[in-house]
Amino acid sequence: MDLVTPGIGLVFWTTITFLLVVFLLIKFAWKPVLGMINERNKSIEDALKLAETTKAEMKALQADNEKIVAEARKERDTLLKEARELREQMIAQAKVDASEEANKIMAAAKQAIENEKNQAMQELKTQVAALSFEIAEKVIGKELENKAASDTIISESINNLKLN
């Protein structure tokens, strides 16, 4: 029966000791420890949440980036295409312009040549006429009396003269 009869001494000291331990530990141990654990758990939770949102944001950002890149690529392609077209157009235009210019120059040159030729021909005619007149004068040996009539004959003969 001794074994199962609580002794008053141990009951008293256990009560005192246990109460003291409970109150001291609540004040100096459990409050800071549990507070810190809770705080840390909260910060970990917050960090995880932040990581999750950041991940989502990154994903959105990546999608945006891809879109932007695709758009840029498209734009580049159109730009290139346009440039190519422009180049071709420019080349074609240049070709057309060049041939036109060439034709113009050719025409002008032809014209000039023609003019020169005509002029030369005219001069030649005059020279030839004068020469032939001189020769004829020499040949005949006498100067025509009627200067006016002879001039008329000369000009008529020049006009009737067709080289070629």
């Binding site: 029966m1 001794d2 074994l3 199962v4 009869t5 609580p6 002794g7 008053i8 001494g9 141990l10 009951v11 008293f12 000291w13 256990t14 009560t15 000791t17 246990f18 003291l20 331990v21 409970v22 001291l24 530990l25 609540i26 100096f28 141990a29 459990w30 409050k31 800071p32 420890v33 549990l34 810190m36 654990i37 705080e39 840390r40 910060s43």
Partner: protein
């Protein structure tokens, strides 16, 4: 629950060993005469409380035995008239001498089931049946103080570690204790108390570590340990009373209604059920008290019995067997030390939780 089969087996084992121990004790009267070894008083001397801390005996050259240990303070309270006497237990010289302080003469007499009583001595020099109230710092009280100091040092340095490294991963002492604290919080207290967890967690954590450390101190076979504190009914009684008080103080309207006016019960049954429920208030902590006491005491008795085998057989040849079985039991007791602390904490949380039912649908 997982511990039930193990516990039942353990209890059966304890019971078997207790019976064999008792039969040993009966035989020991004859054994005592032959070998001079009284197993009954040895075991119960270790199980019970002591007024001094006996460590070991040395045999002097002249063949007399001499005990080595240290005395503990004796604090005696006389009720009529009120007075307090304090002196060291060494003054009793292990019960051989009486001590006279003021009007009273005290004598320390050995109890049948271990430990000692301090009684008055009458004018004729004979020990009486009556004694003063004994508030001595006994071996158990001394161990209790040691446990309190260990706990304060351990957990206040733990708190300091948390303050030193706020918001960082646990390290060192924290890494050892935090999983245990979180286990108690998340797996023991929260399932039973829910939103009330924070209010009762400090008490339950203290109970858990107090019982656990005390249990383990009891397993150390030499100086700072060896006292059977958590196997003492006074210790378990106090803890059970705390749980009883907390349970009933935090009991809400529903709890008291369920006790005195169980809803849905035909009225002629109400008085009977009220009596049963009121008894139930006390049986729950009573079970807590007996469970812890019986488990720890049984463990100590088994270990002591196994060690005593060497002296009963009187041969060293049995020592390897004893050592092997004691080692096995010590490992088991190490588990039981944590298990019983866990059960006490869990059931305390459960009882407190049951005192705060929310709504009728919980029944």
């Amino acid at each position: 629950m997982f511990f039930k089969p193990t516990k039942r087996k353990l209890l059966a084992f304890c019971a078997a060993l207790l019976f064999s121990c008792i039969s040993f004790a009966q035989e020991s009267d004859s054994a005592k005469a032959e070998s001079g070894f009284d197993i009954n008083s040895t075991i119960f001397g270790h199980i019970g409380d002591n007024h001094d801390w006996h460590m070991f005996d040395i045999t002097n050259e002249d063949g007399t035995e001499h005990a080595v240990g240290f005395p503990l303070p004796v604090i005696l309270v006389n009720t009529n008239p009120f007075s307090i006497d304090c002196f060291m237990s060494s003054e009793f010289e292990h019960g051989h001498k009486t001590v006279t302080k003021g009007d009273h003469t005290y004598k320390m007499v050995a109890k049948a089931m271990g430990g000692q009583d301090i009684v008055y001595v009458d004018e004729n020099g004979n020990a009486t049946e009556n004694g003063p109230l004994d508030f001595s710092i006994t071996k158990n009280v001394f161990t209790l103080f040691l446990v309190a100091i260990i706990m304060l040092v351990l957990f206040i340095s733990l708190a300091r570690a948390y303050k030193r490294r706020p918001g960082q991963a646990p390290k060192g002492l924290q890494a050892w204790l935090e999983p245990v604290i979180l286990f108690i919080k998340e797996d023991v207290v929260e399932p039973n108390l829910g939103k009330h967890t924070d209010k009762y967690l400090p008490y339950l954590l203290t109970v858990f570590f107090f019982i656990w450390i005390t249990n383990m101190m009891g397993l150390i076979p030499f100086f700072p340990g060896s006292a059977n504190v958590s196997g003492n009914i006074a210790f378990t009684f106090v803890l059970a009373v705390f749980t009883l008080i907390i349970t009933n103080v935090s009991g809400n309207k529903e709890y008291w209604k369920d006790i005195f006016a169980m809803p849905g019960l035909p009225w002629p049954l109400l008085p009977i059920m009220a009596v049963v429920e009121v008894i139930g208030i006390f049986t729950k902590p009573f079970a807590l008290m007996i469970r812890l006491f019986a488990n720890i005491t049984a463990g100590h008795i088994i270990v002591l019995s196994l060690t005593s085998l060497i002296f009963i057989f009187g041969t060293l040849a049995i020592a390897p067997v004893s050592v092997f079985f004691v080692m096995f039991m010590d490992v088991l007791e190490l588990f039981v030390a944590a298990l019983q602390a866990y059960i006490f904490t869990m059931l305390s949380a459960l009882f407190i939780g049951l005192a705060m039912p929310e709504g009728h649908e919980q029944h």
